[in-house]
Subunit: 191 residues, 2 copies
Amino acid sequence: MPEHRPSGDDGPPLRADAQRNRARILNAAETVFAELGANASTEEVARRAGVAIGTVFRHFPTKNDLLAAIMKQLLARLVAEAGELNGPAGLFEFFERLVAQAAEKRSVVELLARAGMDLRLPDAVGRLEQALGGLLAQAQAGGTVRPEVALPEVMALLISVCQGALHGGWEEGLQKRTLGVIFAGLRPAAG
Amino acid sequence: MPEHRPSGDDGPPLRADAQRNRARILNAAETVFAELGANASTEEVARRAGVAIGTVFRHFPTKNDLLAAIMKQLLARLVAEAGELNGPAGLFEFFERLVAQAAEKRSVVELLARAGMDLRLPDAVGRLEQALGGLLAQAQAGGTVRPEVALPEVMALLISVCQGALHGGWEEGLQKRTLGVIFAGLRPAAG
DNA sequence: GATTAAGATGAGCTATGACTCGACTTAGCT
DNA sequence: AGCTAAGTCGAGTCATAGCTCATCTTAATC
């Protein structure tokens, strides 16, 4: 019996039904974690995927592996999104999109928060940092962001704002004003 | 047999040992939740308080009650701290202090985050908002903060930054730079 | 000191959730 | 069609955590 297959393994191709189930599980997991947060139960994921619980654990031997897989997808999507954004306002645009997502998907935030902790995804996170670095450089070249601002504080602000976005109240206007303050802080001082 | 005593109840005074144990439990809970976060077990609290688990539940019928009690203490302390701060730089000072606390005490952040959610402490939170409002007004009167900035976004920024402060990396310098960006965003545009 | 009700104790109940494993099903192949 | 290994199933195990309650202890009062 072949062993469990961690993400990167390329053994013999999966059987058709296994591929189908794996995809279903990933889909279900994404929506479940988005709605209920990262400590939704694996059983709930199985239920929504329409498979038995054993099947989930066959594909992802631990819950953390499942979370890591989702997180990898998410980070890849963010990197792609960052890649499409261009020009001096690209960084701000990225902030706005991420915060909008964070408000409706708990997982975005919680997973992002755990990306550097329990889940070990240094390369995926690294790629996102690289993409953000590009956006920051463009913004600084275009005079949209002060030159002395560095990548780490941009990341920190991004994470912070996403975290904050979870909290109920936050109507539309508040979110915009909060981001406005941060953008003002990033922009060069004089008009 | 007298019923469990929720926080506000003023029945006959507690017996001496009961008072002692209640204080011990609160102390233990504060440090335990500070170290381990809000989902540390009640047993751990009991262990560190040196009492049996039943005693904890006698004083705080649910874990949430215990969290709420700690949170009330914390909020009161923050209000007091805010009250001592004066002048146009008081608001910034408060930010710095809170973030410093957040970095070393998980509970500060997690409880603050839950204050408006599971735990129902509208009055305690209200008092903090009032105190912050005072600091904001002083800062605006002194020209340290733009007049169009309102209290809600200040609260939002505060919560966000505290949340972000949990994440490991954040060396000393990064924290300062991140706060620097936010302060720059709050300050009036021109020098 | 005797009385007694408040309080402390901790084994145990219940729920939940991560994970296992032997029995069963089916895709892929000849 | 028949074979077989890959894959699925789901009842069951183990651990944890919130909470209860019958029993014992002790502070307060007379």
